[in-house]
């Protein structure tokens, strides 16, 4: 008799929806159906039962084909690579649990690796801005219950965070927002008319690459100073009107995404958006939040943050100190400059997201990829070690985009004999200890 598991956490995006209902076969091995999830979240669970899943580690042969090897062999190869390499890039972490991350960081400290997560090609620029000027933020619950002015700047949750708008930002009725959508004024600032813009009360089309100037104009207008006739294609009258409306909010929130973090100026766009938020707090309560992508990329930043003081691109090659410099210790720069000797990828797919030159550089180095699925990165790796799907086949702690920790749930058993990230990393850690005791570096 199939059973229903309720209150399941969705391990797809940073929204970490916590109301999924998953139907599981009575032998606890197969997922039969997913309710409440968005199309992408449901697919994450449905992947579990897809045929052709790799269940044992694979090693690339000289002819390019892959040979199945045992977990012990894969662990030994990986540990040897880590101990031998003078500088190893240990990238990924965004789709695994915080517990697994902390074991990975222990290994990185011993072998002098550089730990970097997906923020490096995503919200890393937001994190730099936060390092520079701080961040006035809040939880998604506060937004649901209080926000009456919502600004989506350079983000498109309609596609990237499909349930964000219905659960937190546009439609829900909260404690002080009983009218739901009708009680909120929604602005969307983007260079394109996106599907999120369709849900907004007002769409402000900014000329591409002029976000910094427009945000500067908002700040200048907030101080009552003069503006040029148009800024980034937006007339000054409109800017004054919006700023005055934002000042009258009871609680305002700015959500931002790749439209700010990955256009000209990057961190500076966020920096000035944060400062606009700070200015708005002279008039009312305002907060700002990054639309984090991977479901636990925030968790990686949290764990790295409390362990080493930096949220990503943490260089532990000195072993007695942590260093962090975007542009130097970030994955793409390390690969482009060929500054590392080996690559260790876990719970992400740089092959699909990094610039081609970086991946060409990566493909020339000894590479291990730990991932439940075959992806672009596994195909250029020397070793691919499959693991259980975190959030589906094993639980673990994750952080939502608003930095709220949520314990994900196991709904089915992993395929027989497949290790979890935690088990695998613990065994690699032990093997590294053994090799170093024998006189490795």
């Amino acid at each position: 008799m199939p059973k229903e598991v309720t209150d399941v956490i969705c391990p797809f995006c940073g929204t970490l929806c916590d109301d999924l209902i998953v139907t599981v076969s009575d032998d606890n091995k197969t997922i039969l159906g997913v309710k409440n999830a968005c199309a992408i979240g449901a697919e994450k669970f449905n992947h579990q039962r897809q045929p052709g899943r790799v269940k044992r580690p694979r090693m690339r042969q000289a002819d390019g084909s892959y040979k199945e090897i045992t977990y012990d062999e894969a662990i030994d190869w990986t540990a040897n690579m880590l101990v031998k390499s003078r500088k190893t890039l240990m990238y990924g972490w965004a789709s695994t649990s915080c517990q697994a991350m902390s074991i990975g960081h222990e290994i990185a400290e011993k072998v002098g690796g550089i730990v970097d997560n997906c923020a490096t090609v995503c919200h890393g620029s937001s994190l730099i801005a936060i390092e520079d000027v701080g961040v006035p933020s809040c939880t998604l619950g506060e937004i649901k219950n209080r926000a009456d002015r919502v600004v989506f700047w350079g983000c498109n949750p309609a596609h990237a965070h499909p349930r964000h708008m219905s659960r937190y930002s546009i439609f829900p009725r909260g404690f002080f927002t009983v009218k739901g959508h009708k009680g909120r004024k929604i602005y969307c600032v983007d260079c394109r008319y996106t599907d999120t813009a369709k849900c907004a009360d007002e769409f402000i089309q900014v000329q591409q690459g002029f976000d910094y100037e427009l945000l500067n104009a908002f700040r200048t207008a907030a101080r009552g100073e003069a503006l040029p006739d148009t800024v980034g294609g937006v007339p000054k009258e409109k800017i004054y009107e919006i700023v005055e409306d934002l000042k009258t909010a009871r609680f305002g929130i700015i959500f931002f995404g790749m439209g700010l973090t990955h256009t000209m100026g990057r961190n500076h766009n966020i920096d000035i958006a944060i400062n606009l938020t700070r200015d708005m707090n002279d008039h009312t309560k305002f907060a700002i939040m990054a639309m984090r992508g991977h479901w636990n990329v925030t968790g990686s930043g949290q764990v790295l943050g409390w362990q080493y003081g930096f949220p990503y691109a943490v260089d532990l090659s000195r072993r007695d100190q942590a260093r962090h410099q975007t542009g130097e210790t970030t994955s793409v720069d390390l690969l482009n400059r060929s500054e590392v000797e080996a690559c260790f990828y876990i719970a992400t797919d740089p092959g699909a997201h990094f610039p081609v030159d970086a991946m060409i550089s990566s493909s020339r180095k000894p590479t291990v990829t730990i991932d439940p699925h075959i992806n672009c990165t596994t195909e250029i790796s020397d070793i691919h070690i499959p693991v259980a799907l975190v959030g589906v086949e094993v639980g673990g702690c994750a952080y939502r985009m608003d930095n709220v920790p949520i314990e994900t749930r196991k709904v089915v058993d992993p395929p027989e004999g497949v290790l979890t990230d935690e088990e695998l990393l613990t065994r690699i850690n032990h093997r590294v200890d053994e090799l170093m005791a024998k006189g490795g570096q």
Partner: protein, 266 residues
């Protein structure tokens, strides 16, 4: 003043962290002792002597020491970083952090430098007879204090984020810069002989920027207030004076708001 000459004899496979190649680390040491100073390549600790041939000996103090580096240093980081006195000349292009956290002395690079050079420069003279990368004279990540003193001179062009969070000192750039010049500046003086791409003086609180060339797009927070005749780095000319960034906070002095200033050569 005693002179130590280093000549590159081996190229590092990765990048070499030469924190110990500066007059302060060399002071009071003979060639053999200098050769034993550490240099990191990833987690591997090697020595300065593994990568350089060393001749001469250092003076008793950093101020009495002159270092000349010959050979290809494009894969050497931290050359001249944290130096407080003395003189250093590098006859090559250099990698990151060259002359960063410098407090005094004279550092000359006869070539290009990569990004993050002259970070938080506090004193001394740092001259780059080539081009510079991004974050020249800026703050270290997360710090709100960039270049605070000294003179930084670049003969060629510089990249983006030049002089972010600058609080003092003087920077002269002979060529052009990319975006974000003097962002978050709180003091000091930047003289740009060439053109700037965009976003000059964004979020600038205090300080002066002189631009001899053109700015592609002016920040909306700047307002022209008149024309002035000035002599800037030996050039006499008429400049249009702007105040800003009007979107940013500004301190008050004797009841008057102190704005940052941008001067554009007519």
């Amino acid at each position: 003043m005693n002179t130590v000459t280093l000549t590159v004899k081996k190229q590092p496979e990765l990048y070499l962290e030469c924190e110990n190649v500066n007059p302060d680390a060399f002071a009071g040491k003979k060639a053999d002792d200098i050769a034993k100073l550490g240099a990191y390549q990833g987690k591997e600790m090697s020595t300065v002597g593994d990568y350089f041939t060393i001749t001469g000996e250092a003076g008793a103090t950093a101020a009495d020491t002159k270092i000349i580096v010959n050979g290809d240093c494009t894969k050497m980081k931290y050359l001249g970083a944290k130096m407080t006195a003395g003189e250093m000349i590098v006859n090559s292009a250099c990698d990151m952090y060259t002359g960063s956290w410098m407090k005094g002395g004279k550092l000359t690079i006869n070539g290009d430098v990569h990004s993050f050079c002259g970070l938080a420069l506090a004193g001394g003279e740092f001259t780059i007879n080539g081009n510079a990368g991004n974050y020249l004279g800026a703050a270290y990540r997360g710090d709100w204090r960039g270049m605070s003193g000294g003179v930084l001179r670049v003969k060629g062009n510089a990249g983006s984020d030049v002089a972010s969070f600058m609080t003092g000192g003087e920077m002269i750039i002979g060529g052009d810069v990319d975006i974000h010049l003097g962002t978050h500046m709180e003091g000091g003086k930047i003289i740009l002989k060439g053109n700037a791409n965009r976003r000059v003086g964004g979020q600038l609180v205090k300080g002066e920027i002189y631009v001899f060339g053109k700015i592609n797009v002016m920040m909306p927070g700047y307002k022209p207030v008149g024309e002035v005749d000035l002599e800037v780095d030996g050039t006499k000319a008429t400049f249009v004076e702007y105040i800003g960034d009007l979107g940013e906070r500004h301190p008050k002095r004797k009841g008057e708001v102190v704005y940052g200033k941008l001067f554009m050569k007519k």
